[in-house]
């Protein structure tokens, strides 16, 4: 039991640090999902099944979907802005 608790606590510490040091947002979301898996196990091992169930249900589909939608929108806005700037630039040159 003690081994299990110690191991999972160390895992949480390492994974959280790794998520923070991931710089690219899409990769960070994958890392965050993995962190959610580890965190759900931590809650369950510390005898909190209710909290673990919340973490599992939220972290599985809803959380990555929200992040991915936001990232898709941000990327699209950036592309659109770039295109508009380019066309303005061309008009000025002409």
């Amino acid at each position: 039991m003690l081994v299990l608790q110690a191991t999972i606590l160390i895992f949480v510490a390492i994974t959280a640090t790794a998520v923070v040091f991931t710089r690219q947002p899409v990769r960070q979301v994958v890392g965050l999902s993995f962190y959610g898996i580890i965190l759900g196990l931590l809650f369950f091992i510390l005898q909190a099944p209710d909290v673990a169930l919340s973490q599992i249900t939220i972290g599985a589909v809803a959380l990555p979907l929200m992040f991915m939608l936001s990232l898709a929108k941000i990327r699209r806005d950036a592309e659109e802005r770039k295109r508009r700037e380019e066309s303005e630039h061309r008009r000025e040159a002409a």
Binding site: L4, T22, V30, F44, M68
Partner: protein, 83 residues
Amino acid sequence: MNAWLMGADVLLFTLVPCGIAVFRGNAIERLVALEMAGIVQTILLVFLAEAFHRPSTYDLALAMALLTFGGGLVFARFLERWL
């Protein structure tokens, strides 16, 4: 200390290679590693529920089993199309 707890202990360490791949590989490798971690977690939850002698907590493993496919699909869909 029963056999299920020892099994869970051993199984916990199979998450290490998954973790390494999640943070080090390319996009596809990361996704596969994440899915693998989801499967390992499902089995771990079964082991732990058995080890703690609380049959009602099998719900967690069932939830994970049903939801992990959808989670993988989210990444697959967005990685292939928008990002």
